[in-house]
Symmetry: C2
Subunit: 319 residues, 2 copies
């Protein structure tokens, strides 16, 4: 009999979530551990095993599991490793795939979190049936997963698809965590939006709900809450953010001519507030052959499940 | 017996070159016709046939020909057509593949000129053995061919890889032929270099060989000739051009993580004059994970043969 389940693991800097997933994208059971609680990677692997074991037992044992897929920051698909991930407790290169394989005695595939989201979207979400699309994840950072002809683009070294670190402002660009200036991430991430909020508030005398919050405490969530109440300044902040994203998307289209660009993460929840300026700027900046041709869509996966589903989907082809 | 030859056709706005190519990349015979001499596409196809026929007869007849590959401006691989090419005498969509198939009774594959160059480079040139690389063609315009996992990237509609029309200057960008502003092409094409020459000459009082030429007559060839004679201003023009290319390359790497970026066309002949500033700017702008990792190489194909070779290589897999 075909093995009916996979294990999907979503490793993040703060938490690691995992679940048992079936072929339809149902999560049959899930759990989590606190990533930084395990400064030794071996303890982390053991804790993961202890967390997963009862879920596996509930669904019929390890003989029903086809493989493990794991999405991890700086996860490298080719090497099944994590390399130099700044937000994880382990330094250097971690042979994550080998460690999991040894512990679970199952095939393992490793990728980064944005690529896992792309696979999830293609298997269960807004990109079902698409062979060429890009997913942009808007969170603490800006990540991306690029799908070409039905396959995730890994490039010659496994690191392709760092669209959050393409340069969108070459003059007076904001300093990025990567050490460079003007990266898309510095404008379109949650912290980028908060930063734009402070700039917009400084540059106008317009009244705003956001002025009730200390400038250095404003979050992208506050901007959203104000915008849905009709706050003009908050809407302006979404316009600024969406315009920059749309400009960037026009260049991404010139590269890979995707059928759609799918937006995943908190900011995608803002609906028209962010999608309208994105689409407008994208259409204004894209080469004429692509005008009114490339879709911009919100993710169709529940944010809390997407990475588990995506990583799980990768588990089907793990070796 | 395997059919040992293909026909490679390089269609340009001024001339169309064609040749019979063997599996090793030898051109066994070649000829050309003047593209705008045939305002009717059917006359063009007939003239092409008349030109190719004696070459085919010399190499053993049509039974030895596996297929035809043709690189054409705005050539679409999926549709085997030319769509809205501004520099060709025929308007609208031309079903080039069908017309050639009907006339030659051979399998035909159509692509654009930069993709043909990429295939040529992969089959016979600097990208032999590479599966992930980008070729940038620097000519009247700036074209590109992107290879992912050994396949040319066509995108969902066949038009992917328009890197000459990614935006490299968002503020005060130069007006591009495509109607947009700040495209890479407006800086790195032959006309872009000539334009930079006029700007640099205006912005300095430094003496230069280029001042002997009327400002509006300066060509990129003049800049090259002056630079090899040690002209400081001409070198500065190459620095400006190379820096912009290097900045653009850093973003291309973030997209597809290629093993190499290969430069094809007149400007590539300038050697260190252009390669040094490109490499310096690319390394200064690329994300740390790719530092000193991605090669920048000159094409290894003779400029006059590359497009015939590339189109020919496409002919092997024509259907």
């Amino acid at each position: 009999m075909e093995k009916p389940y996979v294990i999907g693991i979503d490793m993040g800097g703060t938490g690691t979530k995992f679940g048992i997933v079936d072929a339809k994208g149902e999560i049959l059971g899930q759990g989590s551990i606190v990533t930084p609680d395990y400064p030794d990677i071996n303890d982390y692997i053991n804790a993961l095993y202890e967390g997963v074991l009862p879920l596996v037992e509930k669904t019929g044992g390890f003989s029903k599991i086809k493989g493990i897929g794991i999405g991890a920051p700086n996860g490298n698909y080719y090497k099944s490793s994590i390399e130099l991930a700044p937000n994880l407790p382990w330094k250097g290169n971690i042979p994550l795939g080998d460690l999991l394989k040894a512990k679970f005695n199952l095939p393992v595939a490793v990728t980064n979190d944005a690529n896992a989201a792309a696979i999830g979207e293609m298997t269960y979400g807004a990109a079902r049936g698409m062979k060429d699309f890009i997913i942009i994840t808007l969170g603490t950072g800006v990540g991306s997963g690029i799908v070409i002809g039905g396959n995730v683009l890994y490039g010659h070294d496994g690191f392709a698809g760092e669209l959050g670190h393409t340069t969108i402002r070459r003059t007076n660009g904001r300093l990025c965590g990567c050490g460079r200036k003007g990266c898309l991430e510095t404008y379109a991430s949650a912290t980028g939006v908060a930063r734009s909020a402070r700039e917009v508030l400084e540059n106008t005398t317009e009244d705003s709900l956001l002025r009730q919050i200390a400038a250095d405490k404003i979050t992208s969530k506050d901007v959203y809450d104000a915008a849905v109440q009709g706050d003009k300044v908050a809407k302006e902040i979404f316009d600024v953010t969406g315009t920059i994203l749309g400009e960037a998307f026009a260049d991404f289209i010139a590269f890979s001519a995707p059928e759609a660009i799918i937006i995943f993460g908190g900011l995608a929840q803002a609906g028209d507030l962010i999608f309208n300026p994105i689409k407008e700027a994208m259409e204004n900046n894209v080469l004429p052959i692509w005008r009114n041709k490339v879709k911009v869509l919100p993710s169709e996966l529940k944010a809390s499940d997407a990475a588990i589903l995506g990583a799980g989907a990768l588990g089907w082809e793990a070796k």
